[in-house]
Amino acid sequence: MRNREFLGQHELMVMLAVLRLGKDAYGVPIATEIASRTGREMLQGSVYAILERLESKRLITSRLGEATPQRGGRAKRYFALTAEGHRQVRETQRALEALWHGLAKPVGAKP
């Protein structure tokens, strides 16, 4: 069997948020997207730590964007998934679906 490395929970959440946001994916909307969809508020620093880890694994790329006065003149850093990132997300999705498949009732529901 091929040795596969699946994404961690937080990594997957961040990658899906990046995927959903498309070209507008930078720190603030990524954290907001995760908070609004999952109800879990992540520290901005943790989001960046995960993004950096994903970038070091070559699953995402980043580019510096425009600096605005609302940000104290600091540039935004935009993120996007690489081809390998897309492949990893799909693979993780397939693995999770395979595990969910066949479970008749939601987890934790009374029989």
């Binding site: 720190g27 520290l43 901005q44 620093g45 510096l64 540039a75 935004k76 850093r77």
Partner: protein, 284 residues
């Protein structure tokens, strides 16, 4: 309506202690959300979380080597100080004799011993910091900070000691002595560690760090010489406050040097900063 002022201390900490390539856009994100109505408490929470992240990451991914590094540093410190206290014990017996007969060979030898003991303390700070950053290489700065925190924690009981006795007018001096000496220990450890991590060569240091480093070394030498002069009685001893202010200045200078070295270590060719400068010039 005037915009709310940013928590400047938090931003300053992020700018000085943060890893530049990541923290530049991160600070921007925090500022953007603060401007959008987030509270100062939220800003501080984010700041502390961001600064603690490398430590958390270090502990999670390389817990064993991280803990071993800090413990090795503590063990070396303990062993070194034990060895020194045994080796230099005789030097400190009947110190008043030095003042009575300062220019005898025995007195000068004892004075030399005291100076050697003080020098060995500085050697210890650098050696222990070197050891910590060698054992744990993945997050060296985080390991160094935790080691410095461990040294502070070790000194806490001695800092609290004056409060246990009866109230005394000299209590402030006693507490201040412990606090300042602990700050000096932290400063020396951080400077030693960051020196090992960052450069190892004077030429690679920035102009300001070089200047502060020279000033700091000069301060150390002057304090040592003054200390020796007081022992032989050539300089009048004006109570602990004189020493304390010297040590306080040394600690302050050392901590400032540590911040500068930390900052230099973080600096990358940051396109974000260039963009910021461009944005500022556009506005003006």
């Amino acid at each position: 309506m005037n915009p709310r002022p940013l928590p400047r201390a938090a931003t300053w900490l992020l700018e000085r202690l943060g890893h530049d390539s990541r923290f530049e856009p991160l600070i921007g994100d925090l500022v953007e959300q603060f401007e959008a109505g987030r509270s100062r408490g939220w800003y501080w929470r984010q700041t502390i979380g961001a600064l603690a992240n490398p430590v958390r990451q270090g502990l999670r991914t390389h817990a064993a080597s991280f803990i071993v590094a800090v413990l090795a540093g503590c063990a070396l410190t303990w062993l070194w100080q034990l060895g020194c206290s045994l080796a230099f014990q005789s030097v400190y017996v009947n110190l008043a004799d030095i003042k009575k007969h300062p220019w005898t060979s025995a007195a000068l030898l004892r004075l030399l011993g005291i100076q050697a003991n003080m020098a060995s303390e500085y050697a210890l700070y650098f050696s222990s910091a070197w050891l910590v950053t060698r054992v744990h290489r993945a997050h060296r700065r985080a390991a160094l900070v935790v080691f410095a925190a461990a040294l502070v924690a070790r000194n806490l009981p001695s800092m609290a000691q004056p409060f246990e006795g009866s109230p005394d007018t000299r209590i402030v001096v006693s507490v201040a002595t412990h606090v300042i000496l602990t700050a000096l220990t932290v400063a020396c450890t951080l400077v030693g560690g960051l020196w090992v991590i960052r450069t190892k060569r004077i030429a690679e240091m920035g102009y300001r760090s070089r200047l502060v480093a020279i000033l700091w070394i000069a301060q150390n030498l002057v304090t040592g010489l003054l200390f020796a002069a007081c022992r032989v009685g050539e300089v009048s001893y004006r109570g602990s406050m004189g020493y304390l202010s010297l040590y306080a200045a040394e600690a302050g200078c050392g901590l400032y040097l540590a911040i500068l070295l930390w900052r230099e270590h973080s600096v990358r060719p940051a396109a974000g900063r260039l963009a910021r400068v461009a944005s500022r010039s556009d506005r003006t």
